[in-house]
């Protein structure tokens, strides 16, 4: 009975999680709520001139019209008022004008900083995985995860 109730609870939570993943996917940009159109909307050109946007990508080159930025996701935009060398990673807030985005606040980072972020994050993930393997184990008789702690039987 208890086992069946636990199974029902796990299925219910999984369904709820899927509902949240879908529900969050239905959120659309709302500048009044601090959610601005991003790479997808700018790439699909569904933003209007004057709209505020937040986009992320990599600087390609400087042109007389502005800085060409390859957005994560494929499209390219021209950004004015951006001071960044080719190859730099940019994440910026600005206003969309038909031919270019005017940057208002930009976070410019060298590629090695992004590499550092991911490398050190992988290290954090591995550290946690290693500790999980050392302090917990799977009890296949009860289909539970139980601690390996001394004196911590799994009789729950």
């Amino acid at each position: 009975m208890r086992v069946a109730r636990r199974g029902v609870a796990i299925v219910a939570c999984s369904v709820l999680l899927l509902a949240l993943l879908v529900g969050y996917g239905t959120l659309t940009p709302d500048p009044a709520a601090g959610r601005f159109p991003s790479n997808g909307a700018v790439g699909a050109e569904t933003v209007e001139s004057g709209d505020r946007v937040v986009v992320a990508g990599t600087v390609r080159r400087d042109t007389p019209e502005g800085t060409v930025v390859a957005l994560d996701g494929g499209s390219r935009v021209v950004v004015r008022g951006l001071d960044a060398a080719p190859g730099a990673d940019v994440w910026l807030y600005g206003t969309d004008h038909d031919e270019a985005i005017r940057a208002e606040r930009a976070i410019v980072r060298a590629q090695w900083e992004i590499t550092y972020l991911y490398a050190v994050s992988v290290l954090g993930g591995l550290l946690t995985l290693g500790r999980v393997a050392r302090t917990w184990r799977v009890d296949t008789d009860r289909w539970q995860v139980v601690p390996r702690d001394r004196g911590e039987g799994d009789g729950g």
Partner: protein, 164 residues
């Protein structure tokens, strides 16, 4: 997100400090707090399987970023808690929540170009929060501070375990 090393070490430090006062916080429970510190960053599954790929496969809107919200994290913590023996569930839920809360706290302090944070409180509110914009996820000093604090706590806890 601050870097994940900073998140898991922060959870380690907080849980180990609690373990000095509370016998229920065993080494396994310290691990649970570290796992809680990873949960909000599970949205990074999107780097391997993009939300758009899932969307195309399911035919409905879909976003992994739901995992970087209190709603998504609460359900993942409930699932994790159901995996452990019944008598350990309150402590496990508490430790997973401790790690996740410290994660959200550190992420709330991050620098966002618009000045508004990711909508962490969804589904309570879908609004980005005006944040303090203190530091970047790629900053080096948070991990340096976290490693130093974790090393100090590890040494102190080890000394306590070894009777004089």
């Amino acid at each position: 997100m601050a870097d994940l090393l900073t998140h898991v070490l922060t959870a380690y430090v907080l849980a180990t400090l609690l373990s000095l006062r509370d016998d229920r916080i065993t080494p396994a429970m310290v691990t649970a707090a570290m796992v809680g510190g990873v949960v909000p960053d599970l949205n990074r599954i999107g780097l391997l399987v993009p939300s758009s790929t899932v969307e195309a496969a399911l035919g409905v809107p879909f976003a992994w970023d739901a995992l970087l919200t209190v709603g998504g994290v609460a359900v993942v913590i409930a699932l994790g808690t159901l995996l452990v023996p019944r008598r350990l569930r309150p402590t496990t839920a508490g430790m997973l929540s401790l790690g996740a809360l410290s994660h959200f706290t550190l992420d709330y302090l991050l620098l966002f170009p618009s000045g508004y944070t990711h909508p962490y409180l969804w589904p309570v509110t879908a609004a980005g929060l005006p944040g303090p914009n203190l530091y970047l996820s790629s900053a080096r000093w948070p991990a340096v501070v976290a490693v130093a604090a974790a090393a100090a706590i590890y040494t102190a806890a080890a000394r306590r375990r070894t009777p004089d």
